[in-house]
């Protein structure tokens, strides 16, 4: 426009030439930018990239390598092939810890329906005080897991804990929840649910709020009641969020450490040890013990490599299964 204004009527050929010149100039500049930008790109990525390479990427390779070696008493490694993995497969302690972790993961998943009920309630139109509820439900999510463990151990105390006092008021005999092999897993999982419900609720609430209101209007015009609407509108449209929440919960639960470590106490291997230690110990706790206390680093490395493969496999299976129940709009 401005070119035309300055030079008066423009002959088509001239105009094309002018724009070609401008275009060339722009491309030239862009090339120059890009040429210099290249080095800026590397420079900006270098600090984070080097740090990640040294402290994260290379360590993964090393850990896999260690899992194939035995650690000498004075350092140094001896290649032993798959021997650590063979020991692992034959180690009842490993299977026990895997079962404990699996049960924990499964039980914590049961918290998701609970989170969903809370999210649906919070999403009701005209409900006041949602901010207060959200804050309260979210408190356990930000509380330090180590502190959570210490507090719940007190609630669970077999002699004077408030849980047993409340139960005995109802005429029920409590037990030593965290030192009874029959109850330890449930006791720990309840805490796991308590710590994650608020997080899952927030994720699901965001999912609920993204469902367009027209869908409900259309459904109610078709005569669908509240319950029907929940199952034919809410649930399918929320399924991507539910899927995501489930995947997330499984990945996190399989790596549980802090909470259980402080609830059941350290592995002292003497009379002071919690009698339910075996039923409580998780895979990551076993790794921690082997790698950093028993000086069996190769074996510890094998444990976390197996855990890694398990997490990947379970996640892959969930992605496979999502076709059956997840609806992407």
């Amino acid at each position: 426009m401005s070119v035309e204004a300055r030079t008066g009527p423009v002959v088509p050929g001239r105009r094309a030439r002018a724009s070609a010149v401008v275009g060339r100039e722009l491309r030239r500049r862009e090339r120059r930018f890009r040429h210099r930008d290249k080095w800026w790109g590397y420079a900006l990525i270098a600090p984070a990239g080097l740090g990640l390479a040294v402290f994260y990427l290379w360590p993964v390779v090393q850990t896999v390598y260690y899992s194939l070696t035995r650690w000498g008493a004075f350092g140094g490694t001896t290649w032993i092939g798959l021997s650590n993995y063979r020991t692992l497969v034959a180690d009842p302690e490993f299977w026990q810890s895997l079962a404990n972790t699996g049960i924990y993961t499964g039980l914590v998943l049961l918290g998701i329906p609970l989170s969903m009920v809370l999210a649906v309630l919070l999403n009701l139109k005209g409900l006041r005080g949602t901010g207060v509820y959200r804050t309260l439900y979210f408190l356990p999510v930000v509380t330090m897991p180590a502190a959570v463990a210490v507090v719940w151990r007190w609630l669970y105390n077999g002699d004077v804990g408030i849980l047993n006092q409340a139960l005995s008021a109802l005429g029920i005999d409590g037990t030593y929840w965290v030192s009874d092999p029959d109850t330890i897993r449930f006791a720990v999982a309840v805490v796991g649910v308590w710590m994650t419900v608020g997080h899952h609720m927030i994720l699901l609430l965001a999912g609920l709020q993204s469902i367009p209101a027209d869908y409900y209007e259309a459904a109610s015009l078709d005569g669908a009641g509240r319950i029907r609407q929940f199952f034919s509108v809410t649930l399918p449209l929320l399924s991507p969020t539910l899927f995501f929440t489930t995947v997330l919960s499984v990945i996190q639960s399989l790596q549980v450490f802090d909470l259980v470590y402080l609830i059941i106490g350290a592995n002292t291997q003497n009379s002071l040890q919690n009698p339910a230690f075996g039923e409580g110990q998780t895979v990551v706790m076993l790794f921690f013990q082997k790698a950093f206390f028993d000086n069996q680093r190769g074996y510890g490395a094998a444990i976390v490599c197996v855990l890694f493969v398990l997490i990947m496999a379970l996640t892959a299976v969930q992605f496979r299964l999502q076709k059956r129940w997840v609806h992407y709009a």
Binding site: F33, R36, D37, W40, G41, Y42, A43, L44, I45, P47, A48, G49, G51, L52, F55, Y56, L57, W58, P59, V60, T63, L118, L121, L124, L127, G129, T135, L136, Y137, F138, L139, P140, V142, T143, M144, A146, A147, V148, V150, V151, W152, W154, V160, Q165, W194, G198, I202, A206, I251, Q252, Q255, F257, D258, Y261, L262, G265, F287, F288, F292, F308
Partner: protein, 277 residues
């Protein structure tokens, strides 16, 4: 009229359920506070008292006698702040380059970052420990801070954020002759403030609460953060619950106060944390 009545009819039961759930959720924390002010004798009394008969503050003093809690508090604050500041800067730089600058090998480098994101944290610990050991950094602040300065997750999060920003302003600045770093620093970074806030909150929270890494590298109580200090406090006062409650409350209170003050940002930030695995 009927519709609002129907809505009213749903609201009240909803409040009842939500309030019940909230009471159950908050009760352990309330009980923690109340117990921390009871004498040991009162804490084991049957039937239990709800409110402390007299508010006993000696448990808090005992926490400081058993472990260097003041030192550990400072350690935790310094650790969390340094990790957070470093991550914000380093992740933002890398994220901006991935989002806006074209250069050979970008895709491959980004895949390397994504690979780290997929791996569970325990796989890094043994070699990280050995690095700390060979540098002579065990029982030091560097051990607590340095590996936590880098984050694939943070880079990924901020890259998504930068990609969502409009490019026009940055292009205009480029045409005026600004170099990519100036554009990043002066234009993109200020626009990315919500993303930085989310990452900052997450990093701070995770650093504050982290237990396993400090247990591994810093065994000297004076060098521990609060989480590890709490573990040793439990070891020392296994059954003295009022002292343990005081300790756990002191360890979490700062974060809870910050959370209540900035809850909207906290909740949004943590809702982002989905990608962390």
């Amino acid at each position: 009229m009927r519709r609002t009545a129907a809505r009213e009819g749903r609201i009240r039961p909803a409040h009842v359920l939500l309030a019940l759930g909230a009471v159950i959720t908050v009760f352990p924390l309330v009980w923690e506070v109340l117990t921390s002010f009871k004498s040991f004798g009162e804490s084991v009394r049957m039937p239990p008292t709800i409110l402390p008969a007299h508010w006993d503050r000696s448990n808090y003093a005992k926490v400081f006698e058993a472990v260097p809690f003041g030192r550990q508090f400072v350690n935790t604050v310094v650790m969390a702040l340094l990790r957070t500041a470093a991550q914000l800067l380093l992740c933002a730089m890398a994220a901006y380059a991935f989002a806006r600058i074209r250069f050979p090998g970008r895709g491959a480098l980004f895949l390397g970052f994504l690979a780290v994101l997929m791996v569970p944290g325990q796989l890094f610990l043994l070699p990280q420990y050995q690095i700390m050991q060979s540098l002579g950094w065990l029982d030091s602040m560097q051990a607590l801070v340095v590996p936590g300065m880098f984050s694939a997750f943070g880079t990924f999060l901020l890259r998504q954020f930068f990609m969502g920003l409009p490019e026009e302003l940055e292009e205009a600045a480029r045409l005026d002759g600004a170099n990519p770093f100036t554009v990043f620093w002066r234009i993109a970074l200020p626009l990315a403030r919500p993303g930085l806030l989310a990452l900052g909150i997450l990093t701070f929270l995770w650093s504050w609460n982290d237990l396993m890494w400090p247990l591994i590298v810093n065994t000297d109580p004076a060098k521990m953060p609060l989480s590890a200090g709490l573990a040793s406090l439990q070891g020392a006062h296994l059954t003295e619950y009022p002292v343990l409650m005081a300790g756990s409350l002191l360890a979490t209170l700062p974060v809870i106060v910050v959370f209540v003050a900035m809850q909207r940002q906290f909740i949004q930030g943590i809702a982002f944390s989905g990608m962390k695995g």
